[in-house]
Amino acid sequence: MVSTAKFWREQASRYNLEGTHCLTCGSYFFPPRIVCPKCRRDGNIERYQFKGTGDVVTYTTVYQAPQNPNRQTPYTLATIKLDEGPRLLSEVICEPEEIGTGMRVRSVFRKIGEEGARGMIYYGTKFVLA
């Protein structure tokens, strides 16, 4: 699990899918980039909140989570292509047999993890089948 400080810095991205958008070439970035790799110095970057809708590109179902033995299994991880373009890896909340390539998904707000019973609870974005 990431540290409390790192999680806090990335909160806008995790809670609200906040990334960036280059006004010069129209590219969208998630996670956010502060320099556009295409336009470089000519780029004009603004903050952008993604709509949270997209398609499943690939997926895998995890039946054993060796790094986190307390994790409830099975769970499904997918590469999701957001409608604005960027791809990200996220959990999709569904039964293993429900998901398929190309399916539409939308973002939801869920618990991502917690540091035991005494530590912080981490919240953020997951996806469900739309």
Partner: protein
């Protein structure tokens, strides 16, 4: 210019898992038919493993923002009422504020008053908005209710919540008046650091639920000069199906007035969410100039009664976010073993 204070938008959220009364009764060798007829509850909602009062509050608040295209930067107060805030110290309201994009200038706090903390939050937002401190106040009632295994409460303790954005003039329902009734009554409590609540069976009915619900409702009707027949809908706190039906009868309301907001049959008792999910489901159906009476109840004990009048704006926003009936259709059933795991009754 007439200043209306009321509900500018609303949203509800109920987790998709359900467990039937039969499945719980089987576990404890009890008769499901007598429990169902005693409580008038068919099944109840169960949160997913990664859902809690924070995630339910955020989903309900986002639905409210979406429904009437509310600018989150114009929200100046956020109050979340619950008896299951995930942190003992660290307000749910701070996480909700960040997750909906409210400005840092927002004042925020968590409210506690058993199942009526959400309606106390609405009253606080009304004061805040009428002082012109900000355009909107956000009031939420949400819970993931806990009950000890084998306790009678296990059949009804559900999960869910609703969010109400309180504003001026541009409202889907005007809050015409409210009245409260509060007393020191030992009907239900949970001491600090205890996982499950305690209740004194003898106190839960007449001296607690009925006395407070009826007194607050009667005070409201006296204040406004309105009678039972002046309202199109009535909503009471719903710890089970029987109590609100009996309260309605005592106050002279018909079953046609109370049925549209009686969600406990399908979701169980969602505690701080209960009367507010009922109100959301009535707003999903109501039309212009119809009147609604809603009275909450929280153990300890108190009730807040509200007289609302629906405006013409309801039609333009109703379909813009999920309705309560959408949560009735999308559901997945759990067996008792999976349910116990979801509720954390089996510590992993």
């Amino acid at each position: 210019m007439i200043r209306l204070i009321g509900i500018a938008s609303y949203g509800a959220y109920v987790p998709s898992y359900r467990i039937k009364v039969e499945e719980i009764a089987k576990q404890w060798n009890e008769d499901p038919a007598s429990i169902k007829s005693g409580l008038l509850v068919e099944e109840k909602s169960v949160p997913d493993l990664d859902e809690d009062t924070v995630t339910i509050s955020v989903e309900a608040a986002r639905a409210a923002i979406l429904r009437a295209k509310i600018d989150p930067k114009a929200i100046g107060a956020i109050y979340v009422g619950s008896e299951s805030h995930p942190y003992a110290v660290k307000p749910t309201a701070t996480i909700v504020a960040a997750a909906i994009g409210a400005p840092h200038s927002t004042t925020a706090a968590d409210f506690e008053f058993a199942c009526k903390a959400g309606t106390a939050a609405i009253q606080a937002c009304m004061g805040f908005v009428s002082l012109n401190k900000a355009k909107y106040g956000l009031a939420i009632g949400a819970d993931v209710s806990q009950s000890s295994p084998g306790d009678a409460l296990e059949y009804s303790a559900g999960a869910g919540g609703a969010a109400f954005i309180i504003g001026q003039n541009q409202v889907v329902a005007e809050i015409e008046e409210y009245a409260s009734f509060t007393s020191d009554t030992p009907d239900f409590w949970r001491r600090d650091l205890q996982k499950y609540p305690s209740h004194s069976g003898r106190f839960t009915g007449e001296p607690a639920y009925f006395r407070h619900t009826i007194s607050a409702s009667e005070a409201l009707m006296e204040k406004t000069g309105l009678r039972a027949t002046d309202f199109d809908f009535v909503i009471f706190h719903q710890p089970n199906g029987k109590f609100p039906l009996k309260a309605a009868k005592t106050l002279g309301f018909t079953s046609a007035q109370i049925k549209p907001g009686l969600m406990v049959l399908h979701f169980g008792n969602t505690y701080s969410g209960a009367s507010l999910i009922g109100l959301a489901s009535v707003l999903d159906k109501a039309s212009e100039s119809q009147r609604i009476l809603m009275t909450s109840f929280g153990s300890g004990a108190g009730s807040d009664a509200f007289a609302l009048r629906v405006t013409d704006l309801i039609e333009s926003v109703r379909e813009k976010a999920p309705k309560v009936e959408d949560f009735l259709s999308s559901k997945k059933y759990l067996d008792y073993a999976a349910y116990a795991k979801h509720q954390g009754k089996i510590r992993m």
